[in-house]
């Protein structure tokens, strides 16, 4: 039984990492205002939201299943207060920090309408801290960290998020109306009239 819980705890952690990676990439895509992967803009936002919620459920399973692990002997407080546990306090503490941030991000997202856009956005920025902390937690605590497959997966996740962040910071990130982009360019550099196809 405890073996099963241990396996469940590990497996759900890995799945949560993948889902949160998808969430971050789709969140950045949402911000860019572009359709992506054959989905319209609103669908990118929807999948972003849903993968975040499913990822959070996986993290809850991850946490609850390891609560009963006889080896790590975790207390409830270890999940919320970082670095106080007896079992690998640093690496587990990173997980607790990430979990606290996830709670804040999810709650403010669900209450976006009541708390307002500004508070929502400020807390949402914490994702950029949460994701790397969670990745370090996975690599550091993970019993699977020595397995080649997990390292490959972690590398793939890292590349996806790092690539998205670099793109996020690049000049061509924002795309709205075709002309809106053109207005940022020095007019002398666009000799032919910009194409406007969207309105007849």
């Amino acid at each position: 039984m405890s073996e099963a819980l241990w396996a469940l705890g590990r497996g759900t952690g890995v799945v949560a990492l993948v889902l949160m990676t998808i969430t971050v990439v789709l969140g950045i895509l949402t911000r860019s205002g572009r359709p992506a992967f054959g989905m319209p803009r609103f669908a990118v936002t929807l999948v972003h939201r849903n993968s975040a919620l499913i990822g959070t459920v996986f993290i809850l399973i991850h946490i609850v299943s390891l609560l009963f692990d006889p080896y790590a002997q975790l207390n409830l407080i270890d999940y919320f207060v970082p670095f106080v546990g007896a079992y690998r306090p640093f690496w587990l503490g990173l997980g607790a920090v990430a979990f606290d941030l996830i709670i804040a991000i999810v709650v403010t997202s669900l209450l976006r309408r009541s708390i307002g856009q500004r508070a929502f956005r400020v807390v949402h920025w914490a994702t950029y801290a949460m994701w790397p902390i969670a990745l370090f937690h996975a690599i550091g605590t993970g019993t699977d960290a020595s397995s080649g497959l997990f390292i490959l997966l972690a590398l793939a996740c890292f590349s996806a998020v790092a690539g998205s962040v670099i793109w996020r910071l690049s000049t061509h990130f924002q795309l709205r109306g075709a002309t809106r982009l053109d207005r940022r360019i020095d007019p002398s550099r666009i000799a032919p009239a910009p194409e406007v196809k969207e309105i007849q």
Binding site: G33, R41, F42, T45, L46, G177, T179, I199
Partner: protein, 73 residues
Amino acid sequence: MPGRTLHIDWTRCDARGSCIELLPELLRRDNWGYPLARTGSEFAVPAHLDDAAEDAVNLCPVLALRFTAPVRG
């Protein structure tokens, strides 16, 4: 169910375009990517488009859409 009215808050709208995809019957894209309704900032939503309008309100990334008082008649 009587049709409701949607209001576009132009101080918030950032031309992300989700609402235009969800309500192509009511909105089109202007040259700058902003939603364009026939009646301006406020427009009536026919009952059969109410679900799509609800989605548009919930999925606007900058909370620029909201329902205002229902239309009479």
